[in-house]
């Protein structure tokens, strides 16, 4: 739908923004700012989804990730009162080791990807992209057939339910204890 050139332009734009924000979330000393930067990264990745033609997914992303998870993280920051304290820098050794581990992973992964030829199923021309991905996703999710995802779908829902209850129970018990100790 949007022309090839603008797509490339957008891609690089968003890529730099996303990497910048990601670095910010990881390095910033104030945890609240880190939360905000994280939100930025998630928004840019939603944009990427659109670029990649997964509009439904971009919506889900914005809804679940940005709407839910980031807010939760902010709550966590508030509850653990860590927003005031300034996080001191990790020791040089730890940073060094982490940097080496991360860059080694990055180098290995890019090396592998560059060496492998990720081609479309048929080489040369790309088969017809799915017209309406959301419809297709909906059908596949509830399809009881062999290729359907209904079982994982149900399991996920079960998982989310249990997490919901578990989380609240754990949090309530500890909050009650926190009241006593005060």
């Amino acid at each position: 739908m949007i022309s090839q050139a603008t797509e490339t332009l957008l891609f690089y734009l968003f890529a730099t923004v996303s990497v910048g924000l990601a670095l910010a979330t990881v390095l910033s000393q104030r945890i609240l700012r880190a939360a905000v930067y994280l939100m930025g990264v998630l928004v840019t990745s939603a944009a990427f989804y659109i670029l990649l033609g997964a509009e439904f997914l971009a919506g889900v992303q914005i809804l679940v990730y940005v709407g839910g998870i980031v807010i939760l993280l902010v709550y966590a920051v508030m509850l653990t009162r860590s927003s005031e304290l300034l996080e001191d820098h990790p020791s040089f050794v730890r940073k060094g080791v982490a940097f080496v581990a991360a860059s080694a992973f990055f180098a290995l992964a890019t090396g592998v990807f560059s060496a492998t030829r990720i081609g479309t199923a048929g080489d040369g021309h790309a088969p017809a992209a799915v017209a309406d991905t959301t419809l297709e996703i909906g059908r596949r999710l509830l399809d009881q057939g062999a290729t359907g995802y209904v079982i994982p779908f149900e399991i996920i829902s079960l998982l989310l339910l249990s997490v919901l209850i578990g989380g609240s129970v754990i949090a309530r018990r500890s909050l009650a204890k926190a009241e006593e100790t005060k």
């Binding site: 080791v97 982490a98 290995l108 090396g111």
Partner: protein
């Protein structure tokens, strides 16, 4: 054994059995309950064995010795069997020298037992003393009657052990304990040589015996001393450092003899052995044990004679020891130490007498045995006399005695006889045996040794008369000496008997009984020229001593002592040999050998084991360092591991 043996000869084993069983009975049963009775029973047992020994002697002599005395082994049984031709028999050998020794040992031992009943009266371990004395008598008799060299070695050790107990009788006195230890260890060191000699003789004897076959036993004296075996031995060729094997073996065996008879390098223990009670010194360190070395050389004399140069060594060591000891004896103050050095010197005499003897001139052999015979009596008498003086004055120092001539007439008379005997004055025994030895030395061409012998004779006369004058003449020098009184009769009887023997022993026609080889031998009579020289030396010695010490005081001799200066002090401290030996044992052996080995074992060998334990622990703790508890450290290890794994998988995918 063609003709019938007398009663004693048939059951010769009694000579060993009596003292042994009396030792067991007295030691185990009587001593704990009734010490007094133990003493009496022990003395009776020794008297019985003395009687038996005389019977044996008479019977053996009655067998007639006109064509040379036969050596018979009336009784022996197989005690310890190593291999066919290598078995140890316990038995009794009867030949001139063993009969002589049996008589001497039992006589002196019984007199000493009798004397001890008085002397040891009131001592704490009265029973224990007599038990050990009985054991000593048994082991000495076993040594003397040994038909083979291993029984002699066995008895040798037993004699050493019982002398250890007797020297250390006053075990609460540290000096006595030290002396007994020193005696045992020095003689044990000498016995090491003896054992090595026995091993060599045994090995080559076994080779010869197994060729000869039959019932030949490698260790038996009869086997070792019969001519063609000796021939084979001397043909053995060079052993260690080029010394012919026979000579090497004999020198090693002689080392054992030298240790027991306190010859020069191994003499240090005898003077200290005076720590034991005086009757012990009289019996062991004068008459019996110390002559064991001489008896050993006499027993193996044919072998020694074939090897020749072994005899030379014996002669030279003997001569040197006699001079060396005589010189020291002149400077000692303790009466028993003077007698100890005099014994050393007389033993040197006997040794060099044997040394000068050979197949051609066997007179030395007879002379040495004769001197052994006479010396046993007058030396025992001297010791017992000294004992009764010490008993009265309660001190060994001659400068604390004096003027005892009047107060102790019997002791004085007998001591005087013994002094004249040892000085070699005519009617007394010493004159005859010493003259024989000098004649043997001159006869076999050893003029050097002859002159040394003369000099020693003079010195002996000097130091003996010195202690005689200082002890008995002049005025009483201390309280004790002033109101000393004569010893009880039980102590005096042995003195008198020994005095009689000291006089009579000289007239015994010794040449007939004890000689080596055929009956002819050299003219046995007294050679007037040598006799005169010997007597002159003796008289000179006595006269010189009379000049210095006639009033029992030391100031005249002090002048000479100061004149000699350093030399005098050197001699007086026995040429510092004791200190040298102490230095060698303590500083070198204990400090530089034993302690490092103990340290080495504790730290290095032990360390090795502990090291393995320690390294296991260190390795364990090193691994535990990784468990830091930091979640993120684990995270990094996790990521690192994953990357490595992926990388290796990717690398190996081809």
């Amino acid at each position: 054994m063609e003709h019938e043996l007398g009663f004693a000869l048939r059951n010769a084993w009694l000579i060993l059995a009596i003292p042994f069983f009396s030792f067991l009975v007295v030691g185990l049963f009587i001593r704990p309950r009734a010490p007094k009775l133990a003493g009496i029973v022990a003395t009776l047992a020794v008297f019985a064995s003395a009687g038996f020994a005389y019977a044996l002697a008479v019977e053996y002599l009655s067998l007639g010795g006109h064509d040379g005395w036969k050596t018979i082994v009336p009784w022996s049984f197989e005690w310890l069997r190593f291999q066919e031709h290598l078995a140890v028999h316990i038995g009794v050998i009867v030949d001139p020298i063993s009969v002589l020794l049996m008589v001497v040992v039992t006589t002196v031992s019984s007199l000493v037992h009798l004397y001890s009943l008085g002397y040891m009266h009131g001592e704490a371990g009265f029973g224990r003393y007599f038990t050990w004395l009985n054991l000593f008598t048994f082991s000495m008799l076993a040594l003397v009657t040994a038909p083979n060299i291993l029984q002699m070695y066995v008895a040798w050790e037993l004699v050493g052990a019982s002398s250890f107990c007797l020297i250390g009788y006053y075990f609460e006195k540290p000096s006595a304990v030290e002396a007994s230890k020193k005696a045992f260890i020095v003689t044990r060191f000498a016995d090491l040589g003896f054992l090595l000699g026995v091993l060599i003789l045994g090995y080559f004897g076994y080779q010869i015996a197994s060729e000869a076959g039959g019932s030949a036993q490698a260790f038996d004296f009869l086997f070792l001393t019969n001519p063609e075996v000796m021939g084979k031995f001397s043909a053995l060729g060079a052993g260690l450092f080029g010394i012919p094997l026979l000579t090497l073996a004999l020198l090693l065996v002689y080392m054992g003899g030298a240790g027991k008879s306190a010859m020069f390098p191994l003499h240090i223990w005898l003077p200290d052995a005076m720590e034991g009670p005086t009757p012990v010194s009289a019996l062991i360190h004068a008459a019996t044990m110390v002559v064991a070395g001489v008896y050993l050389v006499a027993r193996l004399f044919p072998l020694f004679a074939t090897s020749g140069d072994a005899l030379l060594v014996v002669a030279y060591i003997g001569a040197f020891t006699s001079v060396f000891a005589a010189v020291i004896a002149c400077t000692q103050d303790d009466i028993k130490r003077v007698l100890a050095y005099s014994t050393l010197s007389q033993l040197g005499y006997m040794m060099f007498a044997l040394g000068v003897a050979s197949f051609e001139h066997p007179l030395g052999y007879t002379a040495s045995m004769f001197h052994l015979f006479t010396h046993a009596f007058f030396k025992a008498l001297l010791f017992l006399g000294a004992g009764s003086v010490i008993h009265a004055v309660h001190s060994n120092e001659i400068w604390k005695m004096g003027g005892l001539k009047a107060k102790m007439p019997v002791t004085h008379a007998t001591f005087a006889i013994a002094t004249l005997a040892i000085a070699g004055i005519w009617p007394f025994a010493g004159f005859f045996s010493k003259d024989e030895i000098l004649a043997a030395a001159l006869g076999s061409g050893h003029t050097g040794i002859f002159t040394l012998g003369l000099m020693v004779a003079g010195l002996t006369a000097f130091y003996m008369s010195r202690i005689y004058f200082v002890t008995f003449w002049g005025k009483a020098k201390t309280e004790h000496a002033s109101h000393a009184h004569e010893s009880p009769w039980i102590m005096l009887i042995p003195l008198v008997i020994l005095a009689v023997l000291s006089i009579g022993a000289g007239f015994v026609p010794f040449g007939e009984f004890v000689r080596f080889g055929a009956a002819h031998g050299e003219a046995h009579g007294i050679n007037p020229m040598i006799a005169a020289a010997g007597t002159l030396a003796g008289v000179l010695g006595i006269g010189f001593a009379w000049l210095l010490y006639r009033d029992g005081l030391a100031e005249r001799s002090g002048v000479i002592a100061r004149a000699l200066g350093g030399g005098y002090r050197l001699i007086r401290n026995k040429f510092y040999f004791d200190e040298l030996y102490l230095f060698v044992t303590h500083k070198i052996i204990f400090r530089l050998v034993a302690a490092p080995i103990a340290w080495f074992d504790r730290h290095v060998v032990d360390g090795g084991v502990n090291l393995s334990g320690w390294s296991a622990r260190v390795f364990g703790s090193a691994v535990s360092y990784l468990q830091t508890g930091q979640v993120q450290t684990y995270g990094s290890w996790f990521v690192g591991g994953a990357v490595l794994l992926l990388f290796s998988l990717w690398m190996l995918r081809a």
